[in-house]
């Protein structure tokens, strides 16, 4: 836009004839043009900021979604604990990302490994980054820690939580996002020096790897080192389902996450007012269409994964389960997040279909290996996230890749679309590097916490529930507590048989349908 819209009097003058009047005329006309183009530049900033800010608010709503999802998925006695961790993710994340996280991630100019400017938002706003961009990235950063908190729920000391959360949000995550999203990052697909990894760079558009895998792998190590919750596997090793206390909260959380994902994926374009000038389509086609398409692919992937899970679990388990469907839905979203901007809508359906089976498979595997993850976070965000990265390497479409990551003609694209193996290679590198980096940083951290007995709560605490022992009381008081009965607070004995936690394949009859 800029070049065609600048107007310098010196250029116009010859055309008007070099008289004295003509100089004035040229200046007059060009002055008007300059004003117009300045105004248009302001318009662009305003439109793009509006878009980015509201997207950031939506992404923030995901934190609410996480909180509700986690709260509903744990037992009532640990609800306060998990919600506190979610509130703190947002609060502590806000401070640490302000102080140094953003600097590590986007502090250009820097090296390929870590950024080093903008500590405490110094020298902000700059030509390249505005406050809205910071807000948007902050909302992403707090999401990663939220994922991990699900994996280690119901058995982790609050202090351990504080330590790992600030380490993850302030250091581990920002560095990964520097690698793949900063213009200086060694694996970025839009590197400023043009020296792309495998001539391609990694396409992780909205963060299947950067956000979801990082959170998932960190959760995997945490949950693995802590071991399963008491009672999750019985003496002879059979799996016992410890159900969350409220499916309503799970559904509420899932829908809120879905809502927020519309900020997460389409919002990652960062700007909306940008025409794709070399497109073969008409002028009606531009970044705004690509954003709409991204929202559509996101929707379709999640929906397909949910339906697949619905019928898959019906066949495997025998009843229609809303919590499973919710998890399937989120798995589909986590998978499409990497490629959402560069694939066709039909490919999103493929993505979601596979993601559902990936999740089911990893869950089976986890049960077999006696790995206990109350929210399936490692399986869902780690497993489906990895699949999403590979999926992008297979299905990225040439035209879309060039539109979204402009400036490098003839770059590789998806293997199945005829774009060669280079992109897929980069994607696999991404998976390996993320697994390696997170394992090297978070694994020892959790191990150390474990050694110093700061990680897992005591057996008594776990049986009584952390809300009572650490957080001042239970989350719910439905009974009138004034009645002086000797009953413990809020039993719902008539609804759930409490004494005999039978393995779930026994007491869930598949009756109807």
């Amino acid at each position: 836009m800029a070049s065609a819209m600048t107007c310098s009097a010196a250029d116009l003058l010859p055309h008007l004839g070099n008289s004295a009047n003509a100089t004035a005329a040229a200046e007059f006309i060009c002055g008007r043009f300059t004003a117009v183009s300045e105004y248009l530049s302001n318009t662009t900033y305003a439109v793009d900021s509006t878009y980015l800010l509201f997207s950031a608010y939506l992404v923030f709503a995901m934190q609410l979604g996480f909180a509700m999802l986690c709260a509903g998925s744990v037992r009532a006695k640990n609800t306060m604990n998990i919600m506190l961790t979610n509130v703190l993710d947002a609060a502590a994340g806000g401070l640490s990302y302000y102080l140094f996280g953003f600097a590590f991630a986007f502090g250009a100019p820097s090296n390929g490994f870590i950024g080093k400017h903008f500590f405490g938002l110094k020298e902000f706003p700059s030509q390249s980054f505005d406050y809205s961009y910071f807000l948007y990235q902050w909302a992403f950063a707090i999401a990663a820690a939220g994922i991990t908190s699900g994996s280690i729920a119901e058995r982790t000391q609050f202090v351990a939580y504080l330590i790992y959360s600030s380490f993850l949000t302030g250091f581990v995550y920002p560095i990964v996002s520097h690698w793949f999203w900063s213009a200086d990052g060694w694996a970025s697909a839009s590197k400023t020096d043009g020296n792309l990894l495998f001539g391609s760079g990694v396409i992780d558009f909205a963060g299947s790897g950067v956000v979801h895998m990082v959170g998932g792998i960190a959760g995997l190590w945490g949950a693995f080192i802590e071991g399963p919750r008491i009672g999750r596997f019985d003496r002879i090793g059979r799996s016992v389902t410890l159900r969350g206390h409220s499916a309503s909260l799970v559904v509420l959380g899932t829908f809120l996450l879905w809502f927020g994902w519309y900020g997460f994926n389409p919002g990652s374009f960062l700007t909306i007012l940008k025409s794709y000038s070399d497109s073969t389509k008409g002028t009606y086609y531009g970044q705004w269409s690509a954003i709409g398409r991204t929202a559509v692919t996101t929707t379709l992937a999640g929906c397909t994964a949910a339906l697949t899970t619905l019928f898959g679990k019906r066949l495997l388990v025998g009843h229609w389960n809303v919590v499973d469907v919710c998890n399937g839905l989120l798995g589909g979203f986590a998978a499409i997040t990497s490629g959402c901007a560069v694939v066709e809508p039909w490919a999103a359906i493929v993505c979601g279909f596979v993601a559902a089976w990936v999740l089911i498979g990893f869950n089976k595997l986890a049960t077999k290996l006696k790995y206990d993850d109350p929210l399936e976070a490692a399986q869902l965000h780690g497993g489906c996230g990895s699949w999403g990265i590979i999926f992008t390497g297979l299905f990225a479409k040439k035209e879309y890749v060039n539109e979204v990551y402009p400036g490098f003609p003839n770059r590789p694209y998806g293997l199945f679309m005829g774009g060669g193996r280079k992109l897929l290679g980069s994607q696999i590198i991404q998976i390996l590097v993320i697994i390696g980096w997170v394992s090297v940083t978070m694994g020892p951290l959790f191990f150390l916490l474990h050694k110093f007995k700061l990680l897992r709560i005591s057996r008594e605490d776990e049986t009584a529930g952390m809300d009572l022992t650490r957080h001042g009381g239970f989350a719910y008081i439905y009974h009138d507590e004034d009645e002086g009965s000797s009953m413990p607070g809020f039993k719902m004995t008539r609804i759930e048989p409490i004494n005999t936690p039978t393995p779930d394949h026994h007491h869930n009859r598949s009756v109807a349908v």
């Binding site: 009606y284 705004w288 269409s289 949910a306 229609w320 389960n321 529930g465």
Partner: protein, 461 residues
């Protein structure tokens, strides 16, 4: 100067507006599921929430594959036949954001119906009707009213009665369709076990969680700001010969009329029910608010704010009246969805025929042209053209939905896959088909209740 800069700016602003409106409309699905979950008994909560999730999920696939094509493909006035699976999208007329917006509308319809038949329907039946309703019945109605060549559309080249029916955001297309479908489902299934006692007196069956109902209502209200004002599709459309005014003014006015209608209906319901029943009931107020919104949805963009108050006032009484009538005829609808969306939706269509203002009609449908004239509300002196078209719309929607959904429900009933058995109904759907209850607040051991008790126990031990 680049020839397309103007188009770029316009397109991107309109895309922002439409996309965020679509996101808001999507929130209504969350609102519906919370409203439904809170309004049923605890033993069926998982079931109703699953149906709501599945609505969104099934709806998006069927709407992607053919629903959108039926609704907005341009072929004949009755049904569309382009754009299957988003082929040739984006085009110069429809962008992806438009699809997303319409998708969010489509999934709302099935959500309405699921409320009517809650607590007693087999999940398989639910899958069938949801697919059929979202994929076929609703898109066809949407094509009639909203596609540029639908036979009832106020935008087509041939206008019915010189006017076309004005159903701006879908009192008829969305709410009446969902309500009538629910009406047939509920009639064919019959009332829940225990809803009417041996003497035919109604027994109140309260939902299990009023907080979820309020949560759902507020979320619906929030989403309605996308539903009604968002239906303008574009915000950057200036009105010629009007300084400073354009679609942005109308969008704001639409949000205001929507708010006023809902507020009025809520307050009228509050006092009305206080007089009739004797206590202040939050659930009734919530339903009243939603009834007001449903009614204003048709005319929200073409009426003055004061008319919205009239609309809400009547909507509240329509709802109260239909509820009394429903009880008399032993019609059982756990969420009052047929009364609310059907009844108030129908009133909304008539209301638009009475109170539409010509200036605003021209703004909404002719981008504010001043030279032309269109029929407008009967009471405001706009003639019978619009009112007639509204009545035709009302009747044709009732007939179409009855002809399609009625036989479907009947067939499902005959095949024995509509209603669950009495035993299962008494036990609750959650335990019989969904693997357990929604709430599991029991504790394995009788622990202390308060921190104080805990400390004291610690002391003793």
């Amino acid at each position: 100067m680049d020839s397309s800069w103007e188009a770029s700016v316009t397109d991107s602003i309109n895309a922002i507006y439409l996309l965020f409106s679509a996101y808001l409309v999507f929130v209504m699905q969350l609102g519906f599921s919370m409203l439904c979950a809170g309004s049923v008994r605890a033993k069926n909560a998982m079931n109703i929430m699953l149906t709501n999730v599945v609505d969104a999920v099934v709806g998006s696939l069927s709407y992607y594959l053919f629903g959108f094509a039926f609704a907005f493909g341009n072929s004949n006035p009755f049904i569309g036949a382009n754009f299957f699976a988003l082929k040739d999208i984006p085009s110069s007329s429809y962008d992806y954001s438009f699809f997303l917006y319409q998708w969010a509308f489509a999934i709302a319809v099935a959500g309405i119906t699921s409320g009517s038949i809650a607590e007693r329907t087999q999940f398989t039946a639910y899958l069938f009707f949801s697919f059929f309703l979202t994929g076929f019945v609703y898109p066809v109605v949407a094509h009639w009213l909203w596609s540029s060549n639908g036979w009832l559309s106020p935008n087509s080249s041939y206008l019915l009665f010189g006017s076309g029916a004005i159903d701006f955001a879908g009192s008829g297309v969305v709410h009446l369709v969902g309500g009538i479908a629910g009406f047939w489902g509920s009639i064919i299934e019959g009332p829940r076990v225990g809803r009417f006692d041996a003497f035919g007196n109604p027994v109140k069956m309260r939902g299990h969680n009023a907080t979820l109902v309020v949560l759902g209502t507020f979320l619906l209200w929030f989403g309605w700001f996308g539903f009604n004002p968002g239906s303008f599709d574009k915000i950057l459309v200036p009105y010629p010969h009007m300084v400073d005014q354009g679609n942005w003014t109308s969008v704001g006015r639409t949000a205001v009329t929507t708010t006023l209608a809902g507020s009025t209906a809520g307050i009228v319901t509050l006092f009305g029910r206080r007089l009739l029943v004797g206590h202040w009931d939050a659930m009734d107020v919530c339903n009243g608010v939603i009834g007001g919104f449903v009614a204003i949805t048709s005319g929200c963009s073409v009426i003055e704010p004061w008319a919205a108050i009239v609309c809400g006032f009547c909507a509240a009484w329509v709802l109260i009246g239909l509820n009394i009538l429903g009880l008399k005829f032993k019609f059982d609808d756990p969420l009052e969805a047929a009364q609310l969306h059907g009844g108030c939706g129908a009133w909304g269509l008539i209301f638009t025929g009475l109170f539409a203002k010509e200036e605003f009609v021209l703004q909404a449908y002719n981008s504010g042209k001043t030279q032309t004239t269109r029929p407008s509300g009967l009471i405001l002196g706009g003639g019978w053209g619009l009112f007639g078209a509204q009545i035709v719309e009302l009747l044709s929607i009732v007939v179409w939905v009855s002809l399609t959904m009625g036989p479907l429900f009947y067939l499902l009933q005959k095949l024995g896959i509509l209603r669950i058995s009495t035993d299962e109904e008494v036990a609750g759907l959650d335990i019989s088909s969904h693997g357990g209850y929604a709430y599991d607040a029991s504790q394995e051991e009788s622990g202390p209740r308060f921190y104080g008790e805990y400390l004291r126990m610690q002391h003793q031990s």
